[in-house]
Subunit: 456 residues, 2 copies
Amino acid sequence: MLLTGFHSYAQNDDEKQLKKIYDAALTEGKAYDWLNYLSNQIGGRLSGSLEAQRAVEYTKVQLDSLGLDKVWLQPVMVPKWVRGIPEFAYMETSPGVTSTVPICALGGSVATPLGGLKANVIEVKGIEELQTLGKAKVAGKIVFYNRPMDPALISTFDAYSGCVDQRYSGAEEAAKYGAVGVIVRSMNLRMDDFPHTGSMSYGDTAVSDRIPAAAISTNAAEMLATTLKLNPNTKFYFKQYCKQFDDVESFNVIGEIKGSTHPDEIIVVGGHLDSWDLGDGSHDDGAGCVQSMEVLRLLKRSGYKPKRTIRVVLFMNEENGLRGGTEYAKKAELSNENHVFALESDSGGFTPRGFSFDSSDADLKKVQSWAPLFEPYMIHLFQKGFSGADIAPLKKSGIVLAGLLPDSQRYFVHHHAENDTFEHVNKRELELGAASMASLVYLFDTYGTDFGTPKP
Amino acid sequence: MLLTGFHSYAQNDDEKQLKKIYDAALTEGKAYDWLNYLSNQIGGRLSGSLEAQRAVEYTKVQLDSLGLDKVWLQPVMVPKWVRGIPEFAYMETSPGVTSTVPICALGGSVATPLGGLKANVIEVKGIEELQTLGKAKVAGKIVFYNRPMDPALISTFDAYSGCVDQRYSGAEEAAKYGAVGVIVRSMNLRMDDFPHTGSMSYGDTAVSDRIPAAAISTNAAEMLATTLKLNPNTKFYFKQYCKQFDDVESFNVIGEIKGSTHPDEIIVVGGHLDSWDLGDGSHDDGAGCVQSMEVLRLLKRSGYKPKRTIRVVLFMNEENGLRGGTEYAKKAELSNENHVFALESDSGGFTPRGFSFDSSDADLKKVQSWAPLFEPYMIHLFQKGFSGADIAPLKKSGIVLAGLLPDSQRYFVHHHAENDTFEHVNKRELELGAASMASLVYLFDTYGTDFGTPKP
């Protein structure tokens, strides 16, 4: 009887705290205003750009204004890749008969030769097809990777995982067979005219053997495939003047509320501050940054005094290097910091559906016991899975890593493209995500790693 | 042991059938194409309009093409209200100093006097305030209803319910106190410049005593409230030439697959074909119509032979009369038809989250036992609640009524406004809704009203 009474009391307390958090997020939230500034006054902020530096400065000033115990910048060297002037491409069915194709260089790609590159095209549905075709059929050509995302998969992230090797490793592999360039169907489930960029790697390909790589829109991919069927001699032309510069200094932006009773146990909440350059990076990952900042503001505003240290980290350079996440984990290790929980939001600012946990099964089970508290907010998923790229380097025994799971249906319509912009973020959806994150952080802080047993 | 074995087998069968349905919806769905035509080739289709008639003809032709057992039109007389030329409004802080205000007449409102109406404004937060103010303070004025939707409510439909009396009954009540007109803050949680229309009623107010009613955008409502604080003598001007004509004939569009073993037990799935005139009615309720049509197509395509009769009904005149739903139920009663289950989609074409059921607790419990089958599709809500306006007249003992519950966060951004348009519908979200509906219909058909016991 006593135990039940205590449990109900604690449950009731938690219910009240969650309600306070959600109420504050939805009635006087700051995340949307911050995102408005980040997106519309700063814009796309690729590592090493002026915009990235302005984003560092802006978010530092905002964190300073929250009355946290400490706000600082953590230096990190980042790669600097620059797109240069806008790319241009066309397909040519016969000399002089051309159709323009929406295209963008993949992040990290080399430029085409001055004046551009024109060659015949060989379409494949994946890297493994190259071996079947062999050098004879690939050499001197542009390889066109055209395996679409699988629309039957309910999570669009699963569909993305099933395709992204074409973008990431396509150029490295095609170069081995003598290809002169690579174009890839955009990672987008919608048929439209936006090309989607994203990181790619040449692996250990010698600099002199690297070939330019670009993405074309889904509509253009369909058009090119159809055109190639009608006329296998169709040529493809593209030019891009992108360039890799020397590394430059940038920063992770960090702020924290010191824990009242367990200050050495650190809870991290974060997103990545850099974005691709085509849109303004509202969903990827401006949303995650402002939600993470909002977590600390909501906890303070609700009058909650954390037992553990709650730290927001806005990581630099997730998109093309992960230097921020790597550096943060390295410094944490060197300083012997004890991270007990880390939560990342890097899947867009859409209606939150739950969380995925990279943890032991026992810890996951304990977390799942909190699920009823989230039911009024329609948060249902507490599942095993990937947490986030920036916090993954913190992984070690005992720590629980988690990722916010927003509804994924619209994410890849915008991801890494010109249309990842502020007007595609719904204020309430963004705020519900921030409140859900703050609630999970509150529960972790309250029940610690000895889940279910409130600490003094 | 035997029972467990049988249960697993049936479960497995159901899993396969649901997978077939979702796969087909996501890989070769027709709902999005149908909606594209309805929205972009026909557009807003208010009862009695040419567009409504074209929508009847178009959907009939599409149903005819599906190879159903029967497709027909059910005549119904509907009201015909016409907006007339675009409305115009401004606020006037002093003679000649004016700001234009985005405005639209409420559906069913009378016109302003020729040349428009200008008067002082009295702001209230609700109908009950009128009594406190009394005739002295209301007579001769325009009543401005400005109670916003409550952003702290997680379901935006709850927030809508808490406000919509201002729109529906505001004019009837204000007229009793001698008001000369009514303006209402749009039922929209977002701050923007779109006025949202919707139905209103004069109750038993004599025709000569009816006063014009209109909605202004949320931004304009805030601006007007602020302006009134600074200058209570601010005047408001609006003109609208809307008009109620005599009833005209229209139709419910109906198609069915005859049940193989229980043809007399009827399952209805539907949405409403009419929409407001400002946008193209994509979310409200083009989405529900094409999803309902898709339910029958998906069931046929998956090779499923329904035991019961599965009927799609596209109801006419939900928005301003509910004549279609009323007529359908009346005819069903007269023909002694046995409706066992009805499902409506009229909450937008957003990611489906589940269903609400207007049924006995026992029936709800049985339905909830199917929830695990929906988990792979992230459908979690099986709750008691409102089903749908069009199917509500079918209510009687024994029947289960249900409504699709899509994510509600964005619905009232678009509802009844110029921006309820096709580009705001995501193809996959729409398709997931159709597949979820088809799956529920499949389960009802398979297990009948003796839930859990498969029928021969």
